[in-house]
């Protein structure tokens, strides 16, 4: 497949050789190409971290904001111009730790955006500390006796909040991951795709082989419209299920709920304040009648 349209030229990629970010980048370009999304209509939003550098390695509009803050601007960008495809993509520390509050409330808000989270269960850019998804017992320079905090379960949280699309993928499986991402992009409403990936530099526990061994795909018997079943699957670990856990296609999106596009589809930048209406509004403060 020719994904050239999304290729950047002359870039110095800051990822370690063998990093799980490379296949995710490649898969994402393929998914976008297959869906014929134009780079000019795509906005890649990220926070801070190694995964959060992905917008710089793919030809698109970019909003690389602050650590943990990818989701609020992504929500606002989509609300300001619903014609744009908005992908908020970062790592597990960015989305689930620093950005945890936004993760919860963005799901409640349900903007029509795609939230891709590179989940390697460790902090890379700050060199090897625990992430919210680190498994208990995982030893790091800070968690010297091993992690004893309960690992954050993003899928269970998302399903508990009735997120409209919840999936987990594995960077080692290009074909399935691409299909999941494509479905997430085509889904109307907030779509979470948590992607397991190895960190070759700092996570010697959850390696490529470990993920291979400790994951399996949900089969056709899984009904993604069954929220209770999805929640049950989301609480399984070792092996962790992969695939689309849950879809609620009936939720109204944030852009629909804010109501300003009901009669007027124009994005905000094409609009002007209604001076006549404003004059009438100001007039009401004369209390003259």
């Amino acid at each position: 497949m020719n994904t050239e349209i999304f290729n950047m030229v002359d870039i110095d990629i800051a990822w370690c050789p063998g990093c799980g970010n490379f296949p995710i980048l490649k898969i994402l370009k393929q998914a976008l190409t297959e869906l014929t999304i134009e780079p000019t209509k795509l906005v890649m939003v990220s926070g801070i971290g190694q995964a959060a550098k992905i917008p710089h390695y793919l030809k698109a509009n970019v909003f690389n904001g602050l650590h943990g803050r990818a989701l609020p601007p992504a929500t606002a960008i989509k609300a300001t111009n619903p014609a744009l495809t908005v992908i908020a993509e970062s790592g597990d520390g960015d989305m689930y730790a620093e950005g945890g509050n936004h993760f919860i409330h963005t799901i409640r808000r349900n903007p029509d955006i795609i939230n891709i989270v590179h989940n390697n269960m460790v902090y890379g850019l700050t060199k090897g500390q625990a992430s919210p998804t680190s498994q208990t017992g995982f030893k790091t320079p800070v968690q010297v006796g091993g992690v004893f905090l309960e690992p954050f379960n993003p899928l269970a949280v998302a399903i508990a909040l009735d997120a409209s699309f919840v999936a987990r993928a594995f960077s080692g499986d290009a074909e399935q991951t691409k299909e999941i991402i494509k479905q997430a992009i085509e889904h109307k409403g907030y779509a979470l795709v948590d992607i397991f990936q190895p960190c070759v530099s700092f996570n010697k526990l959850n390696t490529f082989e470990w993920f291979k061994k400790n994951t399996y795909y949900l089969d056709d018997s899984h009904d993604p419209s069954n929220r209770n079943e999805a929640f049950k699957k989301a609480t399984e670990n070792e092996p962790f299920p992969l695939g689309i856990f849950y879809i609620n296609p009936d939720k109204r999106t944030f852009e629909e709920n804010i109501g300003i596009y009901k009669e007027n589809q124009k994005p905000l930048y094409e609009r002007e304040p209604d001076v006549g209406k404003l004059k009438s509004l100001i007039e009401t403060f004369t209390i003259s009648e």
Binding site: I11, A14, P39, T40, K41, V43, V45, I48, K53, P55, H56, K59, A60, N61, V62, F63, N64, G65, L66, R69, L71, P72, P73, A74, T75, A76, I77, A79, T80, N81, A83, L84, N101, H102, I104, H105, I258, G259, I260, N264, P267, L268, Y269, E270, R271, E272, P273, D274, V275, K277, L278, K279, L281, I282, E283, F285, T286, I287, S288
Partner: protein
């Protein structure tokens, strides 16, 4: 005889003081009187004791006074709450039964007015507030019909019998007021002013919100916090009519990051916040700094540190706003002094933020947002607002190095180019870089804008004699109280200089200050933050400082006295 009357209502939160204030100020306005109102309140939903001051006058009144001419205490304890402001000239209209042993003729001038008794006769003591409205209306000789029509309009959504009972309450109160007027116990000579008919009656936050709409604001994301919330509430109410996205964020961090995202995609966005909420936003201010994103921040100050006095007033976040956000980047701080400023400066804030791609602050405070008076309608030209965005071409670079430091701002989806913005130091295309030569160029590019900002600075306003020897300096919400105090001084050798733009300091600042033999600064804070700013940028030291930081605004008399003490 008094040409200007100060009426103070005092009672518990939830007792309907706000209804009385609302009705009375509007009825005064309808009847053609100049009116001013402000309030102070405790941080609670019910109970506590709050007060509202309404000034009625033949001429414009725009600042609060300490003096109380007529006090209406609505419950026991209310008299004690404003005790320090009661003088032998204060007339207290109260119902003996309601305020019990507070009703003490040996201490103050009480007149027993049966507000509750009349209300109970009508059917429910809940109507006592409207009886009080009627009483003041009668006392002023305003036509009963004027008051009745407005009360009817105010309660229009209520059941018929409720409307009828309120009308009966106004009438009962009106007759009490007529009797009071006949008794000659309260004397004043206040006339209506035909000129105010077309004027508007809005408070500081309503004026700022109207200015925001005029500035093209179509996105507000904020987290509720007193005293800043009024702006969010106002725009949320107008959201449908004006196509505004008004979102209550999960926290202030989300609020400002949303607003910056909105500007990126082509909206004109603002946030409204106070003290601790703004502290949370500071990372966003810094983000706007490096992204070169426009953002308008309404910061309604209240006393800190931390939670401080949540419902009180102070001008102590000037330095916070000035230095908020890590790193070095330009910004503008505006501080409206009156209702007109609140409208025009907020409108202009959007223009400035958009043109220079920087954060622009509107600094108000609790006193300012909660105070209102009649003022002329703002002018609104029938032209589209000037937007500083461009349609991008294929080789568009968001941070193109230019002579003046401003790179034309594209937005995603408008044109064939790509728009990349990055919180990391970035190259011209907006991509992360560690090229340290480029780093210096980018810092210089951002800071270059400071020079342009100076050219576009809003000059301070000099009020009083051009040949002043004494110059009173003030900023933001103190404009009207300083104005009235300086007028009270009646000195030909004294003027005052009010700053609506506090940063960057307007170019004329030094000249104005150097001309004075003596400079006195007036600030609602403890450390004279604006004097420090002036010293930093002009090297002029202002040692005569009148500062107040008890959580209340200055009163006209208090300031007059302090100025007199210093000048005589």
């Amino acid at each position: 005889m008094r040409k200007d009357l100060s009426i103070v209502l005092c009672g518990q939160a939830g007792q309907g003081i706000q209804t009385v204030e609302y009705l009375l100020t509007r009825i005064f306005k309808l009847a053609g009187y100049n009116v001013f109102a402000t309030k102070e309140y405790m941080s609670r939903v019910r109970g506590g004791i709050n007060s509202t001051e309404i000034r009625v006058s033949s001429g414009p009144v725009r600042a609060c006074v300490n003096r109380i001419d007529i006090l209406i205490p609505l419950n026991k304890g209310a008299v004690g709450h404003v005790e320090k402001r009661i003088s032998p000239q204060t007339i207290i209209l109260a119902e003996k039964e309601t305020i019990a042993d507070d009703f003490d003729q040996t201490r103050h001038n009480f007149i027993d007015v049966p507000f509750t008794k009349k209300a109970s006769e009508i059917g429910n003591k809940i109507y006592s507030n409207v009886v009080a409205v009627g009483t003041i209306t009668g006392l002023f000789g305003i036509e009963l019909q004027t008051a009745g029509e407005y009360v009817k309009k105010f309660f229009f959504s209520k059941a018929d019998d409720v409307i009828q009972n309120n009308l009966a309450a106004v009438k009962a109160g009106f007759n009490l007021g007529l009797a009071l007027a006949d008794s000659s116990k309260i004397k004043f000579d206040i006339n209506g002013d035909a000129g105010i008919k077309g004027q508007i009656l809005v408070n500081g936050v309503e004026a700022a919100a109207l200015g925001a709409i005029a500035g093209g604001c179509n996105f507000i994301s904020s987290y509720p916090m007193s005293p800043s919330t009024g702006l969010l509430v106002f725009l949320a109410k107008q959201a449908k009519d004006f196509g505004i996205i008004a979102e209550q964020a999960e926290d202030e961090i989300a609020a400002i990051n949303m607003a910056i995202g909105a500007w990126y995609a082509g909206a004109r966005a603002m946030v409204t916040t106070s003290g601790g909420g703004f502290a949370l936003m500071t990372e966003g201010i810094s983000l706007a700094g490096i992204l070169e994103s426009p953002i308008v921040i309404h910061l309604a100050q209240r006393p800190g540190p931390a939670t401080g006095l949540p419902t009180r007033t102070e001008q102590a976040d000037l330095e916070l706003a000035l230095y908020a956000g890590h790193g070095e980047f330009p910004r503008i701080l505006l501080a409206p002094g009156n209702i007109q400023d609140a409208f025009y400066l907020t409108r202009k804030a959007f223009y400035l933020a958009d043109k220079y791609q920087i954060p622009v602050f509107i600094l108000t405070d609790q006193y300012f947002v909660d105070s209102y008076y009649n003022t002329p309608c703002p002018d609104l030209p029938d032209i589209n607002i000037e937007k500083h965005i461009i349609k991008t071409g294929v080789d568009y670079k968001r941070y193109k190095l230019t002579d003046d430091g401003i790179s034309p701002r594209g937005i995603p989806g408008y044109g064939n180019g790509l728009v990349a913005v990055d919180s990391d130091e970035h190259d011209e295309a907006g991509h992360i870089t560690e090229d340290l030569t480029l780093r210096v160029e980018m810092v210089d590019k951002r800071l270059k804008k400071l020079q342009l900002l100076k050219n576009d600075a809003i000059p301070p306003v000099l009020v009083g004699s051009e040949d002043y020897k004494n110059l009173i300096v003030c900023w933001g919400s103190t404009y009207n109280v300083v104005k009235e105090a300086v007028e009270n001084l009646g000195r030909d050798d004294t003027a005052f200089l009010h700053f609506r733009q506090v940063y960057p300091l307007p170019g004329q600042t030094s000249d104005y200050l150097k001309k004075a033999k003596r400079i006195i600064i007036v600030e609602n804070n403890a450390t004279s933050q604006f004097a420090k700013l002036i010293k930093l940028h002009t090297d002029i030291e202002i040692n005569d400082r009148i500062l107040k930081y008890d959580g209340l605004s200055f009163y006209v008399e208090e300031l007059t006295e302090k100025l007199n003490d210093l000048l005589n």
